[in-house]
């Protein structure tokens, strides 16, 4: 990451329901609920116009980004508002339905033309732009379960280069039978049932006027070649703390919360934090909302923000021990990409 950026807002649509309160309440109650966002009906959320062939991922992204940007247009021009959405491979359901039609109908081109653009991986980001009038930089990053961190790093680069004044950044994954089969056969060791949803944050430069919910201090990623996932994650963590200026354990004592994606990450982080890890709050949204694919790391960030919000509500500004403390996010993708991010929760 070139320079720290801050998170000024967040929004989420999860299997617990629409919105941040449902997500936070669901995590607090602790009863797992994977699968679909049951309350989310595309035609209800987005209207009937142009949505009959829309994939769920695009629709979830449009809805969630809309929540995120409510009110932002008054202070950031649409042409200076960026969008970066993370994915694994786009809407597998749309791609497979389209291909099946081509293979089974009387002519191979008897396919639904309206379906084609929704099968492209940039559909969610493009729909966010079209439906919210966002003409700024717009991109799609396909790094699977690490996408929630990749998109933050990528968006931070735009901000450093002055290409946008604010970036809606996060990831989305939809629920479908097609994705369930792909997830079950992806060669990875994630055993949670699949979940769907979208989680996004608004990133701004550190010196923007809007108050910060969190500062993003570092994002680091590596590739585990072969089976060296623990070593790769440790190296990432070391690099992130070095970026922040913490060496020889100075930084690790400031860590108050850790949100992980993959099941094996906690052991590595515990090892890395040493005794500092004893007083840390551990979060792993996958255990509650299921394996949300590309949205996993974005949900991890959202879980930290939800948890910080609750701390503020419970303890108020003065006695909030965790305010100003560091939070760590880790993620692992089935391709071997590994990432971590260091946040300071305000």
């Amino acid at each position: 990451m070139i320079a720290p950026v801050k998170i000024t807002s967040w929004a989420v649509c999860s299997p617990f329901g629409l919105g941040r309160d449902a997500f936070a309440a669901g995590l607090r109650a602790g009863t797992p609920k994977a699968g679909q966002v049951d309350e989310f009906v595309i035609s209800e959320a987005l209207g009937k116009k142009g949505t009959s062939s829309m994939d769920r991922a695009s629709a979830l992204a449009v809805h969630t980004v809309g929540e995120l940007l409510s009110g932002v247009g008054q202070r950031v021009p649409l042409a200076r508002t960026g969008v970066v959405i993370g994915t694994t491979s786009g809407s597998a359901r749309t791609q497979m339905e389209f291909t099946k039609a081509s293979l089974t109908r009387r002519k191979p081109y008897f396919v639904e033309p309206a379906m084609m653009p929704f099968g492209l991986m940039n559909s969610a980001a493009a729909q966010c732009a079209i439906r919210h009038g966002l003409t700024g930089p717009n991109s799609t990053i396909a790094t699977g379960r690490v996408a929630g961190l990749s998109t933050v790093d990528y968006a931070a680069r735009w901000l450093a280069a002055g290409r946008a004044d604010a970036v809606a950044c996060g990831a989305v994954e939809e629920y479908s039978a097609e994705r369930a089969w792909l997830a079950a056969n992806d060669g990875g060791d994630e055993t949670a049932p699949i979940g769907e949803g979208c989680a996004v944050v608004l990133l701004e430069p550190a010196d923007s006027a809007a108050p910060a919910l969190a500062d993003v201090l570092a994002v680091r990623s590596r590739l585990a070649l072969g089976d060296d996932h623990p070593q790769a994650l440790s190296a990432c963590l070391r690099e992130a703390f070095t970026d922040v200026g913490g060496v020889d354990g100075v930084g690790v004592n400031d860590v108050g919360a850790v949100a992980t994606v993959g099941a094996g990450e906690r052991a590595v982080v515990e090892d890395f934090l040493g005794t500092a890890g004893k007083s840390v709050r551990w979060l792993r949204p996958t255990e509650y909302v299921g394996d949300t694919g590309a949205a996993s790391a974005s949900f991890a960030i959202a879980a930290l923000l939800a948890s910080a919000r609750r701390d503020h509500e419970q303890h108020g500004e003065q006695h909030d021990e965790r305010a100003g403390r560091l939070a760590l996010v880790t993620a692992t993708d089935v391709t071997g990409i590994i990432g971590c991010a260091l946040l300071r929760l305000r």
């Binding site: 099946k100 492209l120 280069a161 060669g187 590739l223």
Partner: protein
Amino acid sequence: MRRVVVTGVGVVSAIGIGVDEFTAGLRAGRRGARPISVFDTEGFAHAYGCEVVDFAPKSLLRNLNPTEFGRAAQFAAAGARMAIDDAGLDESTLRARRCAISIGTTDGGSADIERLVEAEVRHGSAARDPVVAQRVPSAWLPVAVASELRLSNVDTSTVATACGAGNYAIGNGFDAVRFGDAELAIVGGADAMCRMTFTGFYRLGAIAPDVCRPFDAERKGILTGEGAGVLMLEPLDSALARGARVYAEVHGYGLNCDAFHQVAPKQDSVAECIRLALRDAGIEPAGVDLISAHGTGTKANDVTEVGAIRDVYGDAPPRTVSMKSMLGHTMGAASALAAIGCALAITHGFIPPTINHRTTDPNCAIDCVPNHAIDAELNVVQNNGLAFGGNNCVLVLGRYES
């Protein structure tokens, strides 16, 4: 902020594999079109495309086992291997530096999605092969590059912005090197022929029955293609320090979104993207010698794109060519292959032609350098990438003069 230069390129394309064949192909106005053979075309009235023939992954790859990766990932890895060899870098040098790998794609692992659906349709869902399923995630493309080069201290990303993805990935690497996020960036785009994409464009009426004729009065659409274009970007200082050959400097880029329509481009938004790119590059319109257009050869794209060019450049725009006339539309690889073409044009002093040209459409009033390459001293070249979904990205390359 550091200056960023291109020191190596790798190419997998229908007109040549490797920089020398590719350069010769561009100079000769080689046509990459042929009847499609990589998938079943039964039932389509016409099915020409620009396939890569003679792709021998085992001879191009040193470490990667090609059978473990999909075709697009193999293209990306082969392109990267060629690029680092071309740059005169070795794996140990790369390993000693913080690298960024960013590969653009439209379809990623879609060819494997098709394989799964076909197995299900023909033999039932139990016939779907999990090994094929594992190749689907698009993240495999830059990971294949990293695996081939045995790099682990590397930030990998797949940019999935459809037909403009190559430029996006190059821009991402440019920013990373410029601002010190990375010491080296291996960037570009890759895509493999995919029946799903062909079918989609065919159904939209956008596939040409014979050849791709950008800017021609009788143009009828694209020919789908495949391949990979990979560029090595490094800081100017370190390139000079190690005596590297510099193809071109990356001056800057601009990106925006039409926010208008899923497939139709928006002229004023494209014009604005060009202006953003020139501003980022610190170049005035009068300083641009050549435009490498997105130039798909569809009615809509070409007239809209030329309209946008004329909005920015006035009545005497620079010569504007489309390499898609030769390469076909290689999707995520397209703007990366074209960017390499721009860098080679600058280095060797020629303009790649727009082939298959008979009569320029009066509504596309530009000099498209028809059919034959011409010699030209080029100082600044603009490369357009305009994608479905309104994802626009324009790159500006220039001659590096010491």
